[in-house]
Amino acid sequence: MTGYTTVIGLEVHVQLGTNSKLFSPAPVAALGDPNTRVHHVDIGLPGVLPRPNRRAIELATRAALALGSEIQLYSEFARKHYFYPDLPKGYQISQFDLPLALGGSVVIGEGRSCRLHRLHVEEDAGKLTHTAIGTLVDLNRAGVALAEIVSEPDIREPKEAHTFLHRLREVIRFAGVSDCDMELGSMRCDANISLMPIGSDTYGTKVELKNLNSMKMVHRALEYEVRRQTAVLAAGGKVIAETRGWHDELGESRSMRSKETAPDYRYLPDPDLPPIVLDEAFVTAQREQIGELPEDRRNRYRQTHCLSDQDVTALAQDRDIGDWFELLVAAGADAKPACNWLIEELLPALRERKLKLLQSPISATGLAELLTLLKDKTLTQKTSRLVFAHLLETNVSAKQAIKDLGLGKIDDPASLQPLVDAAIAEMPQAARAVAAGTDRAIDALKGLVMRKTRGRADPGLLDSLLRTTIAANS
């Protein structure tokens, strides 16, 4: 089945991380009882007018700059008309022929990149819930600021689409624009996909895929659609221009509506909103806010800290993670263990507690202290985890935690000698074997002491005490 080239273009909506909505001062919150985050402007009440949010324009500008797009100093809001109960005004305020940014690109593989068509700012719609008595309309989300990023149809396989989204999310997060959480809906993706015979330069009939609610779903839905369209064409059929919804539980897409007649949105420049004129100073200021982008950061970590590709990718997946890593290193931790503990211990523990990294109960200095104690062998791998768990709950210093837990090493001979004597008394054969030259028999004695001290005995001291005591006894 290698007769066709897959052509994929993506339309990604990213929620801009503002406090208030795009055109009203209503608060933006992921959760909340229905219609408790709704200003008169969001209902489109008669007499209201939109008030554009400066922060939304700033964040969208940062996203565009981070993606290498060209900021349009003159841009304009337009009204996109359609009737739907989640759209209170009968039109969505978006941008049409004068968007905020044009161009840009996203890396989708070794030597491969996908060009961007444009980035524009628009408002979100409300949420509908279908019930027996009718459809319920909640407008909490209506008017939330979004950036829509439209790619060119440069993607050639589902895996590249996955990489596109991954890299896009990374960049947007780094630029401090959005948390891009597909599960929470702060990043959403529609895909256009068509097949054309290999060697052809004429695109086939395209199908739009919706309800792609995670990166994995995007991947699965596109793979399914490649198979489906290939089968249709192989059977001599024609692909129908339509919108298909992805049903992940069924592992298939289903037709939502045909696109034979393109909807007529009757775009008009919004007469309530004068065109926005930005200047170079504004753009420069936004550029300065972006800071280092993920690719640059990965390179720096590779060079400065000699970390593996896997490590630097994990650290650069999110700006906060990298920043935290750097705090750890600055507080004296070695790079490699800092990376391991951050990625494998702290982040999973925070996820379990539904906390963000910036809300971590363990500070970077706290964790660095723990790593230092581990390095100088004050803590063992095992006890260090107990201290870590304690720190997550109590927010004390690592040294204090060790005291609290009674985890300090038993490293004075006076404390350890009675335990050594007791062990020899308990396992006289082992002691005799050691005395007779079967050196590995000492492990059993060590094990016994360690069990009794829950691993706290200083291994070096224990070894020497055992040997001197056995030698003295025999």
Partner: protein
């Protein structure tokens, strides 16, 4: 009101001097409305409690020796498309017959802040779409100069309220002449300020790029007083102008029109205008020349595009602005569908078809056509270019002229049933007012004569964008030297 002064300026002055009591003024006005308005139909409802409570507070403050605002004691009517908290705001439409406003429009809030007394909401053409107030879903409004004469529109209720002394100032809105034309037909003075001068927040939209909050009063002096209080930037209205107008002080600067350059565009002063109207406005122009004005004959060639451009742009924007009335979030919901049975499309279509009157439906369909795929390039976009051309021509004229003059309406008030039925002829009736709307420039209408049978005739004055003071100054000087604005209907 025989015992009280009748201009807002005089009332406010008397109030501040302690010669008047606000509660008495409000009571007298409410009584007058109760006795005259059943026949005139100017008011949809009165704000008895609100006006009385505000009057009581005002009197208390006066007794306490506090200084009172420039509109102290001035009773003000407001058009039914301006929101007043807790009052109905229906914009003349069945669609909004039960809509209660959750806040007060910025333009009205400012009037109350300056101690004005809002007294009631005035009848209007549905969503401002009409020139006779007959498209109101609620009641007929009659011209005080003849009960069988139309009052003009869409701010017909406001014009009648002032003409019949039911209030000192009435607020209107002017999209294509809706303040100026009823002012002309009812013999009062009306101002459409520069676009953006008075904030639109709280004004139910007809066509956003053209809608202006305006006012009607007995004199230009009163309108200047109003504009000083109502103008200025509003953070809630991104299209509002940054600077307020301070015009009242300009009125004292002149008692004649020496050196004022007066343009009389040919296209607006001849074709299509009734002879009686033309005679009266030419006489007014002559009087203005006698007062020192330097009259210049000039041309505005793009004026011929004004009516098509206006109606295409206004209806395209209206189709958009009125899309919000979908029977879901507020407004009329049809009772003919059962939510558990029908689709939301049926509910919306049925609610809109029942809630909007015929003229509104016609304009929504025209605007939908003008902005729809395949037609918008030939209609909506062309109209935008025509508007731009007209704006440019006006700008050029205002390099040579300070004020442009024309009749406000090509005819005096027609009788009910006597005016044109076909929409094109009705729309052409607006030919003299829509140019200033498209250009966003200030324009004022003032009485300048009457027909043989006593119907008012009015002169329109237009000035450069942002120069509201120029039209007010000219009108004030004219009114210092003429009596037309003092003529009262027999009631």
């Amino acid at each position: 009101m025989s015992t009280s002064p009748t201009t807002a300026t005089a009332i406010a002055k008397a109030m501040r001097n302690g010669d008047l009591c606000a509660v008495d003024i409000v009571q007298a006005q409410l009584q007058r409305i109760a006795s005259l308005d059943p026949e005139l139909g100017a008011f949809c409802s009165t704000f008895d409690d609100r006006a009385t409570a505000n009057a009581v507070r005002l009197d208390e403050r006066q007794k306490a020796g506090e200084s009172l605002g420039p509109l102290a004691g001035v009773v003000i009517g407001s058009k039914d498309n301006l929101l007043v908290e807790n009052e109905l705001a229906s914009a003349g439409s069945r669609m909004l017959s039960t809509f209660r406003a959750p806040f007060t429009a910025t333009s009205l809030q400012r009037l109350e802040l300056h101690d004005g007394l809002l007294i009631g909401r005035t009848n209007m053409d549905e969503f401002g779409m009409g020139s006779t107030t007959e498209t109101s879903a609620f009641q007929k409004t009659r011209n005080p100069f003849g009960k069988d004469l139309v009052p003009g529109g869409s701010s017909g209720g406001s014009a009648v309220a002032v003409a019949a002394d039911l209030c000192a100032i009435a607020i209107g809105s002017d999209t294509g002449g809706s303040v100026r034309q009823p002012a002309a037909l009812c013999g009062v003075t009306g101002l459409k300020p520069t676009y953006g001068r008075v904030p639109r927040y709280g004004l139910i939209a007809y066509a956003s790029s053209l809608d202006c909050v305006g006012a009607l009063a007995r004199t230009a002096e009163d309108l200047a007083l109003w504009l000083d209080c109502a103008s200025g930037q509003d953070p809630a209205d991104a299209t509002s102008l940054p600077t307020p107008a301070t015009v009242s002080h300009m009125l004292a600067e002149r008692s004649d029109l020496k050196g004022v350059r007066i343009g009389v565009p040919r296209e607006l002063n001849g074709e299509g205008v009734d002879d009686e109207v033309l005679t009266a406005t030419q006489a007014a122009v002559a009087q203005i020349r006698d007062l020192g004005g330097e009259v210049i004959d000039c041309a505005l060639p793009s004026a011929k595009h004004a009516v098509p451009a206006y109606y295409l742009l206004a209806t395209a924007e209206a189709a958009s602005n009125l899309a919000r009335y979908d029977g879901v979030h507020y407004g009329n919901r049809t009772e003919q569908t059962d939510p558990s049975q029908q689709s939301s499309i049926d509910t919306t279509t049925q609610s809109r078809s029942e809630g909007f009157g015929a003229e509104v439906q016609l304009r929504i369909l025209l605007g939908t056509f003008a902005s729809s795929y395949g037609y918008s390039a030939q209609f909506y976009e062309r109209a935008r270019l025509a508007r731009r051309a007209l704006q440019r021509e006006f700008a050029q004229l205002f390099e040579r002229c300070d004020v442009l003059l024309s009749p406000t309406s090509p005819t005096a008030a027609p009788h009910f049933g006597d005016h044109e039925e076909d929409p094109l002829a009705r729309y052409m009736w607006d030919a003299l007012t829509v140019p200033a709307s498209l250009a966003g420039i200030p324009a004022l209408s003032m009485p300048c004569g009457q027909t043989a049978d006593g119907r008012p005739i009015a002169l329109q004055a237009m000035a450069k964008h942002g120069h509201d003071g120029h039209v007010l100054q000219l009108a004030h000087v004219f009114q210092m030297h003429s009596q037309h604005h003092l003529r009262r209907p027999q009631l």
